[in-house]
Symmetry: C2
DNA sequence: TGACAAAGCGACATATATGTCGCATAATAA
DNA sequence: TTATTATGCGACATATATGTCGCTTTGTCA
């Protein structure tokens, strides 16, 4: 494991990420990655033995990153509405960024892989996000900032709408205002003062 | 074009549909379809020259079917809440039916096809659904049954959450109650009496 | 600097999917 | 029944991706 090797592997992952985001998982071959990186077949196989292996490394590096600064904010008693605002802004922003999204590739990958439905990174990310959101909403209810009947239900509306948008944006021009509309409606579901 | 040929083509489409629903688009080859139908290579190619051609015929037959009985119900002044109830029930039911869903295959197909983002059947179905929903919600507002701030926004929450669920259900066990939660929250966004 | 390991190369063997073609068989109509 | 056409067959040629291997080049460290 030399420095050169590390650099090459990083380059392979970065290049592959672009290809996966652009074309999905199945559409990318080892040959494509060779050509895009400038490596030869032997050179590439020296480091990775399949597109699946490369893909998994990318995805796992991804899900490790995500974590709950939200929970520490709750502990520090920052108002729920403020935390909500920031979190929704992040969701809205990510919804608009289809260029760099490998969502579709992830779904393509896991939907046909041998990896159990109960033990893939999609499931894990869903569980983590759910925990954080339910915690946040309950906190907001306890401080009387939110008036939410069913925290889990609101979370599900948000997370699936979010994924729906990311998916659709691969297929058609998504109006920039749609992410804003969605987080707007989520806010209406949570905040008292917007009810009529 | 004989009866036998029609029957064969129908059988090919039915079989291919199952395969696409199960494995996605890219994962299905002409060879797979041969084996699943019992046809030989030559026999299959006699009728269809690619998986893409078969897929498009299936998808188009699909989107032709969908149409607006909703609009006629509005004309007949059936209460908006009643129409809403029926429509949401249909959405919830479809969300739960991942076995027969080719959503993922459709997205896979169009996301890499040469077909314009502005001119694919996904876009078309979206436009049709949007028109119907906005019509329905405005009707409900006019009869004072709904108290909706932004009809289009509510539609977007629903349609994207719906697609998100269909997609996710390919990847992990989706709790049966989730579709109900989602349509429940949509109702809360529309109906006055559920506000607190 | 010399020796050893890591990285890189590209031809090759293998595997799999595509698309074609001449021939066989089954349906249909005169 | 027979001529004609549609359907079906499977071997074959083609194309493309995979994975391997001996060899060369490059980096690293004593």
């Amino acid at each position: 494991m030399s420095q050169k090797g590390d650099k090459t592997r990083q380059n392979i992952r970065d290049t592959a990420y672009r290809l996966f985001a652009e074309k999905g998982f199945k559409e990318v071959t080892m040959k494509d990655i060779c050509e895009a990186t400038g490596l030869s077949r032997g050179g590439l196989y020296r480091h990775y033995e399949s597109t699946g292996q490369i893909f998994l490394e990318i995805v796992n590096a991804f899900s490790d990153r995500q974590q709950s600064e939200v929970l520490t904010k709750i502990e520090r008693r920052i108002p729920a509405a403020v935390i909500l605002e920031e979190l929704l802004a992040k969701y809205a922003e990510e919804m608009s960024d289809d260029e760099n999204s490998i969502s579709l590739a992830i779904y393509e990958f896991y939907s046909n892989s041998a990896i159990s439905k109960e033990d893939n990174s999609v499931k894990k990310q869903y569980e983590i996000a759910k925990e954080v959101w339910v915690e946040l909403i309950n906190y907001g209810i306890s401080t009387k900032e939110f008036s939410c009947v069913n925290p889990e239900a609101v979370f599900h509306v948000l997370v699936f709408a979010y994924q729906g948008v990311r998916m659709y944006s691969k297929l058609m021009e998504i109006d920039q205002k749609i992410p804003k509309q969605i987080v707007g409606e989520i806010k209406r579901l949570l905040l008292k003062e917007n009810d009529n």
